[in-house]
């Protein structure tokens, strides 16, 4: 019993030590990057953002953010506020979308909460707010496209109110969740009877598993809705497995064929 009490005492001591350590900020935080301006919100949808704190020193820190296929470094300073850390950081300023972050990191809760202000605000690039959760990203081929998602509504019912995305009249159906293209080597028979919209999302699900941050709005719109999707990189091509590369080539072939011939008199 005494021994047990001792263990608890030491553990509490250690953890309280850690709580004050700024290294505990280091990690990846993911969530919605929410526009606060109502006109900007109406013009374009919010995206998932990844803010990664890579290193801390006495009172300075550095990291990077990835949102909508745009990866930017930032550096800044922080101050301890009890168990929390208040960070003020800026992006280099040589990109037209650069700005500055101000956020509070709560290491014990695994939460990063704050705002971002662009250096050059435009109609769609305005102040944002975010509450992000610490996320460990690992590539996991077992992640399936969820069957429970209402895929059809994504491109069809939602299309009428999403003026910022051009769906091009494409169909997205529950067919898209039939295969895991990172695990199963697809055959012609698997993909030949799929709509172009399904093929496109099926192919991009491979990139999504590797944490690719989509530059294309339509794919961001789809994958941002999926729980396991974490944008961590702007180029994942060298991480694709042989099986994934084969599937991508096969699906692409049918996508291109559908784009050229599906609704035309011809081929």
């Amino acid at each position: 019993m005494n021994r047990c009490m001792y263990c608890i005492f030491v553990a509490t001591l250690l953890s309280s030590c850690q709580k004050s350590s700024p290294e505990r900020m280091i990690g990846t935080y993911v969530g919605w990057f929410k526009k606060t301006d109502s006109a900007a919100r109406a013009a374009a949808r919010d995206n998932k953002i990844n803010i990664t704190i890579e290193a801390v020193e006495r009172n300075t820190m550095r990291g990077r953010s990835i949102v909508a296929g745009n990866e930017r470094p930032f550096t800044g300073t922080f101050t301890a506020q009890g168990e929390y850390f208040q960070v003020n950081a800026a992006e280099p300023g040589d990109d037209r979308y650069d700005g500055s972050f101000s956020f509070l990191v709560k290491p014990a809760e695994g939460i990063l909460i704050g705002s971002w202000i662009p250096n050059k605000p435009t109609a769609t690039v305005t102040r944002t707010e975010y509450t992000l959760n610490r996320t460990e990203f690992t590539y996991n081929p077992d992640r399936d496209l969820p069957r429970s998602l209402n895929w059809f509504a994504l491109y069809n019912e939602d299309a009428s109110r999403l003026h910022d995305i051009d769906f091009g009249g494409e169909l997205l159906t529950e067919d898209v969740s039939r295969f895991n293209a990172s695990k199963v080597l697809l055959k012609k028979e698997d993909v030949e009877n799929m709509h172009k919209g399904d093929l496109e999302v099926l192919r991009n699900s491979i990139y999504a598993r590797h944490g690719y941050s989509f530059k294309r709005r339509k794919m961001r719109y789809v994958f941002d809705q999926i729980d396991w999707y974490v944008p961590v990189a702007t180029d994942v091509r060298d991480q694709l497995t042989d099986l994934e590369q084969k599937n991508i080539a096969l699906i692409k072939r049918y996508e291109e064929h559908a784009a050229a011939y599906y609704d035309s008199f011809g081929r």
Partner: protein, 219 residues
């Protein structure tokens, strides 16, 4: 009487214009396959069969010869050409029969054996190629023995099947426009829909014509 006559001419002119329009579209489709390449257009989704030594020769024979089968549509139905320039009718007829019997129908049958869409569409395309060959051969044999009526009936059937190149694609366009079905679902449907209504229309036409003849209402 003049009214009826001009009505018929309008119909004929419309049919000719439609044939010109769709022949132009078919020519454009055929020209995608010039020059020879193993991986263009439709062949992009036939990569599982192009390695068979017989597939690409059959495919290219089919696409390079079949376009010419639309041309007799401009000459063979004209009473004037048949009576005033019979040599043209015969030349076009020889072209048509030769191309189908030696090239287009056999190659169509061969590529039909591995058609996309599985058994339903394979059956449809092979049956189409078989009937096409058969009707054309019967039409040829009829004229060789001087049976003009049978010659005409069989070559009308044959040409109705030749037009399936157009009607299949038109049905596909229409069904996609109307229902947005899955690509292979629509392919299996048009594999049949492309030629059966054509053939039924000709049979119906021949049936009513026979009826008129028997009751003496034909000139």
């Amino acid at each position: 009487m003049t009214g009826v006559y001009s009505g018929i001419s309008f119909l004929k002119a419309g049919a000719l214009l439609a044939l010109v329009f769709f022949s132009f579209l078919m020519l454009r489709i055929s020209l995608q396959y010039v020059p020879y390449a193993p991986d263009v257009a439709f062949l992009r989704i036939k990569q599982d069969v192009v390695h068979h030594s017989w597939y690409l020769p059959a495919f290219y024979v089919h696409v390079w010869t079949s376009f010419f089968l639309l041309l007799p549509g401009f000459t063979q139905f004209s009473e004037k050409i048949r009576s005033k320039i019979p040599a043209l009718h015969r030349a076009m007829g020889r072209l048509y029969v030769t191309v189908i019997l030696l090239f287009a129908a056999p190659s169509g049958f061969v590529i039909g054996l591995v058609a996309n869409g599985g058994l339903p569409s394979r059956l449809a395309f092979c049956l189409l190629a078989g009937l096409w060959f058969l009707y054309t051969l019967m039409g040829l044999r009829a004229i060789l023995r001087g049976d003009v009526a049978q010659h005409r009936a069989f070559l009308l059937r044959s040409f109705a099947l030749s037009l399936s190149a157009i009607t299949l694609r038109a049905w596909k366009w229409f069904l996609v426009f109307l229902l947005a079905p899955r690509p292979m679902d629509v392919y299996m449907v048009v594999a049949w829909l492309g030629w059966i209504p054509n053939l039924l229309a000709v049979e119906l036409y021949l049936y009513y014509e026979r009826g008129k003849k028997e009751t003496g209402h034909i000139e």
